[in-house]
Symmetry: C2
Subunit: 662 residues, 2 copies
């Protein structure tokens, strides 16, 4: 079935009507973008997008990303109009109200059909790059029969101005992601006014410089939109379509200005718009013929999906494909056995190296693992021996050279995880989590299994100095909800933490790893890290002190303990590789490890900011003791830095004794 | 005096020798970049850079930024060779050792002549944009006689690949910063290998698309370098010079590969390099004739500076110029008086609006204040009425439309503050501090007075939902050393916090401000915020409870207190607008406000993560009580969200009573 332009115009106006009415009802929201891009979105859905509203999780659907997430009413309108089960028209009436899945910005965890959470500008497009990468990787693995779909994006000037845009399009261009198509809402308006206030860039030239094809159209001329989208679809390069639009198109007195971006139109202007658009239906009512046209698109998608299901049945790889798409791990008994072997050893290795050892076991066993690094492969130890580079020439590769693009990498990892079928992990220095922090946050918010391998996790990195030494990063990542921050103490904990990270489907993980060598502290493999913290060394005699430490400071805590014990002072060492998991344990376990008893002095030792550790120590008499680093580091060899900043038994033991004597 | 190419080559080799020897001595560092860019840097210093080593703080010097900070030995070599007092050759011998100002990466607070701290890639160039902005603003204000200098940058592939590069060059292009010149170390190598592994971008085309001029040269042909730098210097656009270089040039067996980037060459290769370079001097010894050539450059700079001093003496604006460059505030009595007037009122305004009110008093009184916003002017309330836009047509303007470039903005603010003569402040939503977090960190590390106006500071922003609602941001910013994070509770505290921020020369400030209205809680103006926290409401009768709150939750704490008092339970309310300042108070004051007495229940109330508040509450019997939000927010009107997440007296009072009853 082909819908003629005369049929498309009222379909687009249905988006405009829903958008302006919902924003008005909420007295909050962004009508300008949905109204401006209604025509383009209608052509996209009518002529190109492969989707089946009754099977929103169909693996081979096209991915559609509304990178300009503030235009969420465009998304909700499209989902409702094409016949997704959710949102209902009632949900749209309750746009931006408590409990409605039609949130201020689209949230992947509230609605199927919303492929990713958007709103933080630029990241939608950057996640789409990751989706397109996952698509090519799976296509290379499973063939056209099972995997062959496009990733379409609508992005605004904001998305294109953000720095992450440069990283994302550079990566896409280098990887030759020809199935990625970006529709740019080229409306010359940002919140502060005309784009010319802040930018004079030739955007098409920039995209071409990054290896993209660029097309353009009048975003309100259906035939022209169709031509441009067809050209983009036919290109074998990642493509940008500059859609010249009028923001708020249809609102006669306000369109084309920044005022229509983020405020309700008001009753008078809505009445005027209804007039201009020839839209006489009541708010939230879509005339039947128009709705029927929209719903017919869904039927078309169902046919495509059924054909795909038939191909899948005949495909010998179908079961493996389904396993990967479901995010289920293969039987990892081999993996567990291999870990067990390490317990025999006595490894003195950096945890980054321990992590590499894990990867060399895990990556061969889990073909869905796609690694990478933001140009620190040799430092992050992120490449498993079995991994070939993922390149435009070899999409079957499983290792991504992300370049010096931390934010782009993290967002791409989110996109890959959201696409499904792959488990992305990627490395950079822990300090540069600052560069991609909001993408890590979006991993957590979107509940995806992205694994961040963040090495050089303290002043222990030594000579590179304060710009490279994380001080506040570990604790500040712990503040992000739904993120497990692991700081393993040795080779065994590292293996455990990798295992937990892989098994945690809806929570991303950070592995904070050392540059410097650490001794093996345990020879038992009971997955003690899964409880977040545990008693590694028990006091002999009366327990007077509990030393709580993470990562490289656990070894130090053991030394401090031995000196205390030598003076007849009973001291536990608690290793705490993951605060979040410990906090989630039942009270009885928590009290066993860290009793509330204020007569026991609790001491935290971590080479980072102390704030936050009071949760575990301040219940002690005199408030406990926090050994940490509440200032920037310095440039010197690691051993000198640890000594200078008091990370030595010689410095800590007297402090403990003093506290005990008060 | 003109140095012929024949004289330049040994000068450049002096850089190479110092760099490879220092890295070797430290057994750590990056020889590749200094050796690769030695020839270009030599031409820059010999032919273009305006500097006087004996007066490194000369206001009208050219600014030189080594954006590729890992090449720090290039910087240290240049400073030593041209005759700066520091570093000494002994400092260079101690490269990367404890106490040497020759740190792993260049630190502005360790060496004069290091204009900014670099190492986090991309930010040096982005700070240089800010320096060039400050230069133009001061030039427009004080004229060519006092201010007319270039900003030169050396940047590597990493700096150009980072997202912030896009933001920085877009801003520079739009603002037409013709006195900004970037020398790109175009060596085709990144840490992971050939640049082609991760990028295929046409960099000159991208720069041209952003309004830059692009030139190129053979980075090892002195005549060609001279030509290209002269062309760039003559251009009235911001200019990129692509310097085709060989990384590690001079190390015969290792040059041109990624192995030479970040590892010592080794004794054998250094011997081979000495051979190739014809360099027979001992390590850390520079032959006299070569050193004399280098030192002659400093003498040339001294002449230029003396001429400038003479012009300054004759300039009627000299005193005002000197005041601004010294960073001293003008007499602010007028400002203080105006604040006093507000105490009479009874304002019920959002703190973002209170901040705007402050700006409308401060900006006219402090002409050095340069405001701006990352495309949220109307939401951040950052523009004072007196401020004209700062544009290519009007550099006298004092308000920057930064565009949707949070990271670029923050880095530019750092550059402006480092240049001196201006006090930059800039706004975005608090959540997007995530996008510029490492630049905020560099404000703190570099000890500059940059003021971040971060509005929409909690779920109180309402409908935009979890992507826009800060939960962990306030606490995570508090973790950054040397950063004052202010979260004022009303119009009075907002005025106090602005005052403190302006008066704090070596510590940057964050102002976390509300979208929603807040009642005025105080009618006294004793600058109580300067102590970080203070007793806003004192208990009547026995003090059983202390409620500690910040920002919008102080009002709530007052309501909770009144209900407790009504039940006969004495309760203080402590307003804590700035934890950092409170922690810096003498013990006696801290104990007065928050006594250690465990029988007093301490309760924190803040609409963000609770972790960290235990510092103040966990000393209570039963560990205290923390009211906060340890999950992501949701999309709904603010009042519904506060109710839903327990920020109401109805929810909090029973929890307090329960704790008291245990």
């Amino acid at each position: 079935m082909t819908l003629a332009p005369a049929r498309l115009a009222p379909m687009a106006n249905a988006i405009r009507a829903l958008s302006m009415d919902a924003v008005q009802a909420a007295n909050s929201g962004h009508p300008g973008m949905p109204m401006g891009m209604a025509d383009v979105a209608t052509v996209l859905y009518a002529k190109h997008l492969k989707f089946d509203p009754k099977n929103p999780q169909w693996a081979d659907r096209d991915r559609f990303v509304l990178s300009a997430g503030h235009g969420s009413m465009l998304m909700y309108s499209l989902l409702y109009l094409t016949g997704y089960e959710s949102p209902t028209i009632e949900d749209i009436r309750n746009f931006r109200q408590m409990g409605s899945p039609c949130a201020g910005h689209p949230e992947n965890f509230l609605l199927e059909g919303v492929e990713c959470t958007t709103g933080p500008l630029g990241q939608g497009l950057a996640m789409a790059v990751g989706m397109a990468m996952a698509e090519r990787q799976l296509n290379a693995t499973f063939g056209d029969d099972l995997v062959d779909h496009n990733t379409w994006v609508i992005a605004g000037d904001g998305c294109l101005m953000e720095g992450i845009n440069h990283e994302a399009i550079g990566l896409a261009g280098t990887l030759g992601l020809g199935k990625l198509k970006v529709l740019w809402d080229d409306n010359d308006i940002t919140i502060d006014g005309k784009t010319g206030l802040s930018t004079s860039e030739d955007i098409p030239a920039r995209y071409r410089a990054s290896g993209w094809d660029v097309f353009s159209c009048d975003g309100h001329d259906f035939a022209d939109i169709e031509r441009a989208l067809a050209e983009a679809a036919a290109s074998d390069k990642p493509s940008l379509v500059a859609c010249k639009t009028v923001i708020g198109k249809g609102a006669p007195n306000k369109q084309g200005g920044s005022g229509v971006h983020g405020s309700p139109l008001g009753a008078d202007e809505i009445a005027a718009a209804r007039e201009v658009l020839g839209w006489s239906a009541e708010p939230f009512v879509i005339p039947e013929d128009i709705l029927a046209d929209w719903r017919s698109l869904g039927a078309k998608g169902a046919e495509a999906r059924e054909a795909w299901e038939a191909r899948k049945v005949a495909n010998p790889e179908a079961a493996e494909f389904s396993r990967r798409m479901a995010g289920e791990l293969p039987d990892t008994e081999d993996v567990a056995r291999t870990f067990a072997g390490w317990l025999e050893g006595d490894a003195n290795v950096a945890t980054r190296k321990a992590s590499e050892n894990c990867l060399n076991v895990l990556a061969p066993a889990l073909p869905e693992m796609i690694g990478g690094s933001a140009d620190l492969t040799g430092s992050n130890n992120t490449k498993a021996k079995c991994q070939e580079p993922f390149t435009a020439e070899n999409y079957a590769g499983r290792y991504v050279y992300y370049g010096i693009r931390e934010f782009g990498m993290a967002a791409a990892m989110n996109g890959m995880a959201l696409h499904g079928g792959v488990i992305p992990y990627g490395g950079t220095f822990l300090i540069f989590s600052d560069y991609c922090r909001n993408a890590i946050r979006l991993s957590a918010l979107q509940q995806v299994r992205a694994i961040y391998v963040l090495t050089h996790d303290s002043i222990g990195l030594g000579e590179d100095g304060p710009t490279h030494q994380p001080v506040e990063q570990v604790m500040s990542l712990r503040l992000i909800p739904n993120l497990n921050v692991f700081r393993p103490a040795d080779v065994i904990e590292t293996a455990e933490c990798w295992n937990i990270a892989l098994q945690t489907q809806e929570t991303p993980s950070v592995l904070a790893l050392t540059r410097q060598n650490l001794p093996q502290l345990r020879k038992s493999g009971e997955m003690l890290s899964a409880r977040g913290a545990y008693t590694l060394r028990a006091a002999e005699g009366d327990r007077k002190v509990i030393l709580i430490a993470s990562g490289s400071e656990v070894e130090l805590a053991c030394t401090v303990r031995d000196e205390l014990q030598a003076q007849g002072i009973g001291a536990d060492v608690v290793s705490m590789p993951c605060m979040e998991l410990f906090d989630a344990q039942e009270e009885a376990y928590k009290h066993e490890v860290l009793p509330h008893d204020p007569s026991i002095l609790k001491v935290s030792i971590e080479a980072g900011t102390t704030m936050g550790w009071e949760r575990y120590t301040a219940t002690s008499r005199n408030g406990g003791l926090n050994i940490g680093l509440d200032r920037f580091g310095a440039s010197a060899p690691a051993k000198d830095l640890f000594a200078r900043f008091g990370f030595s038994a010689a410095s800590i033991v007297p402090k403990v004794l003093e506290k005990l004597s008060v």
